[in-house]
């Protein structure tokens, strides 16, 4: 479960010029929400704050009972390793690792035994439809395939929370629909929570709830648009 209360963040780390303040968000286990909003309103920054990659200026965040505000840099890194998964707009699949190695990487970091890590990575690749291409290099993949690998990598280590920043922003509508289906299906299958930052109303509509971030805060968007 993720609980956020009174979260505030200023421009360039200064609370005086608030990017957002007093944000509250509660995510139940297995719940997947979309965050929408105008460009520059701080959607990606909110994700980064939740991931501990940008410092917050105030507020409280608790993930599965852990008070995130009390974590130092090393503890944040370990938390990301165990509890978080990421899907980026630009895929960020490492070019010097094979597809299998890319997907196994989070488990390597968790010291999962080699065979088990590879078995699970292989299984994850199979679930995203790339089981036959485990030993391929990323440069042979299309954009949609690349994002499938990223989804497999984000979920292979069974994280509690998957943070997705415009995961379909670089894909054509057909591929975007396929990838989104796959992403949400896998998140739900894993029982993880998901936060999806997107500009696409259609994509947002596929989640459990749609939230809109604006100068007024994070509010539920019942229209989904």
């Amino acid at each position: 479960m993720l609980e956020i209360e009174g979260l505030s963040k200023g421009f360039s780390g200064t609370a005086a010029q608030a990017l957002f303040s007093g944000l509250a968000l509660t995510l139940a286990q297995g719940e997947c929400v979309a965050i929408m909003g105008e460009s520059g309103v701080g959607k990606s920054t909110l994700l980064n704050c939740i991931a501990g990659l940008e410092p917050i200026d105030g507020g409280r965040m608790v993930l599965d009972g852990t008070d995130l505000a009390a974590l130092d840099e090393d503890a944040w890194a370990l938390l990301r390793r165990r509890k978080l998964g990421f899907v980026f707009q630009a895929f960020h699949v490492l070019p010097h690792l094979t597809l299998l190695q890319n997907v196994a990487l989070p488990m390597w970091l968790l010291d999962v035994a080699g065979d088990e890590a590879e078995t699970r990575a292989h299984e994850m690749l199979r679930r995203v439809g790339l089981g036959a291409r485990a030993s391929d290099w990323p440069k042979h993949l299309s954009g949609g395939e690349m994002q499938r690998v990223a989804i497999a990598r984000a979920l292979v280590h069974c994280p509690s929370l998957v943070l997705c920043d415009e995961p379909t922003g670089n894909l054509d509508p057909e591929r975007a629909r396929e990838v989104l289906d796959l992403l949400l299906e896998r998140i739900r299958e894993a029982g993880a929570m998901g936060i999806l930052v997107t500009h696409s109303a259609a994509a947002a509509a596929r989640t459990d709830r749609v939230l809109r971030l604006s100068r007024d805060g994070l509010v539920e968007d019942r229209d989904g648009a």
Binding site: L84, L94, H96, W108
Partner: protein, 838 residues
Amino acid sequence: MKRALVHVFLASLLRRRLATALSLFAIALGAALGLAVQLIHSAALDEFGRGMRLLSGEADLQVVGPRRGFDDAVYVMLAQRPEVAQASPVLELEARLPGREGSLRIFGIDLFRVAQVAPVLMPMPMDDGDRAERFAALQSDALFLSAAARSELGVDPGDLLSVQAGTRELPLTIAGAVPGAGLAQALGVMDIAAAQQVFDRIGRLTRVDIRLVRGAERDVLQQRLRALLPAGVEILPPEAAESQAAGLSRAYRVNLTMLTAIALVTGGFLVFSTQLLSVVRRRQEFAFLRALGLDRASLVRGLLAEGGMLGLVGAAIGVALAYAITALAFRLIGGDLGAGYFRGVAPEIHFRPGLSAIYLTLGVLAGVAGAWLPAREAARMLPARALRSGDEREVFSIQAHWPAAVTCLAGAAVLCLLPPIAGVPLFGYVAVALILAGAVLLLPDAARMAMTLFRHARPVLLRLAHARLAFAPGQIVVAGAGVVASVALAVSMAIMVSSFRGSVDEWLSQVLPAGLYVRASSSAATGYLGPEEVARIASLAGIASVQAVRYDTLRLSERFPMTLIARPVRDGTPLPLVSGSASNVAVTPGDMLPVWISEAMADLLRLGVGDVLSLPLAGQDHAFRVAGIWRDYARQHGAAVIELDDYRKLTGDPLTNDLGVHLSPGTSTEAVMSAIRETLGERTIEISLPGEIRAVSLAIFDRTFLVTYLMQAVAVLIGLFGISTTFAALATSRRKEFGVLQHLGLLRREIGTLLGAEAALTAAVGVCVGMVAGAAISVVLVEIVNRQSFHWSMDLSLPIGLLSIFGASLILLAALAARLSGRQAMRRSAVFAVREDW
């Protein structure tokens, strides 16, 4: 294009300040060391030649003989020849000064002749106005000193100066000056008859300076007069001594120049690394420029201009640095860089525009050569693909070149079979360069092989490092090429020096078998021991036996004088033979007498065991049979050993230079040394223990190789720069990758460790290839370069412990350097890193 050149290309050098500074530094160091070595040696040679020309005066030819001199009847004969206008007899001596360090060069001259041939040696009495003083030069105890000699010895006209002849101490009066000798030449002049008398050289000369009649052809007369001279006496033009000295030191000078050239080549490798990485980072920029209409040739020209500018500025800094180094070297270690070829010469630094221009050009060439492959790579790039990120793998997927590598190595092996050119092992140096090139060409294969070893590594950071290097082996080549070059140089020099030092140490223990050594002076100076003195020492309590050694020089044709050593051999006194035998040489009446020649003499005269060698002794040629060839690290120009008894029978010379004293068991060395001093006097003899001689010899050895150690340090430093700049650039270009890894939970310090692990793996491959190449180069240095340069053989010795520590240290330093240089790149937020387009 000019504006593009300035703003796109040259300005990029200012943007990447660290890489530019390190490249400049590497090229500056290479150019500075190379030019400094040239400046130092040319200044020393010039000064040496100037001194020789000054003392030769207006002589057209000089008649020279062995160190002991030749009969003065030669002078009488020459003076009467119609083609000789003037002949001036000279007795040149190195007078030992009792109670003082060093010796004084004294010229015994004929006052009435010298003014016509070598007026610089004309003495000037104290008071020129007094007629009685004017003839002071003819006094038997009158010595005239040049200003430099007076200053060095701290004496003034009217003072007494003791000189030594044998073990006798004789006071001479400083009667005046030698104004023509200038301020740099420390020498003394006295009447030749007085010199012969004082130094027991009655009837002996060491030189006759000759002025020929006007219009005479020097070469023709040289041949004609040579036929009239006794064996062992040679007639030469005055400049021959200069060219002999230059020839003697040539190999040493060329060796040092080659070492500095390798430092410059290593600098070129650094330019290659930094330029290639810069091309990787700027691929999208170049693709964009190409899309705007920049043609391939302009792109190549711009990148070559970057390299050329690096070379030019680096070399300009290097040239300025070279003059500073030269000035410092003259002040600290003299004009021969510690090697002893130009002892006593005080050279001055002069600006040499020609040499400076050559090194500026070499710097530019190193820069352009380093930039060539990266420029070609940039030109091959397809703009459409490069505009998309992630195609840098193509740059780093450098292909293996093993056929070229094998060709280089085979070529090196063939070149090792070829003889030297004018005493310089040119083919040996080319072989060294080919081995180096072959090693660098083998680097991609070595990298691939090394990566297979880590294929099953478990730790995640090692896995990631392995994956990166296996994916882009060119990264190892880019970062490792400089390491290979510097390690190969350092390792080859370390093995060569270690082999040489070990062999010298072993050689010293063989040539110093006695308990202690007694001499009246160095063999070149005027001290010696007579038969009575030897007998008195031999009769002292505690002395089991003594072994006398007599030295002389031999003039065999126009070569530099070779050394004659007369000493016992067949009684079992050790001689460090490399072929033939010493004790089993039986001489029956009618047989030729045996001679044991040094390796240098065997090489220079092309002689082997069993060959006949004619030695000029006491004015006559005597045929000897070569019984053995021995190792001699003391005399590069060659030496021959004959039995002392044979020498004495043939020459009638009973004198001794060095006396080896074997002590009876249980005798106190100190007691025997005191007894010898009481017998012969403390001021006129030198007593040395073998350990002292050994320590002094090894100290001289180390001083000679001081410059070599400096070069090694520079090469290693430049290699480390290569690793450091490469990984700094790689860390910057891989910020996005590191950002993703941070998102996945990798700690900042773990990314530092990852960079360190990659650098350690890269350095390990470079070090291993460099070590193998270095070992191969050391064999070429020992067996070819040294042998052809100095005619010295040596036993190969691998300092395995030292090399292991060196290799491990270098790998560790490379890891640290990469980690430090990567820190800058990791300061950037992971969030910003992943926002950049991949």
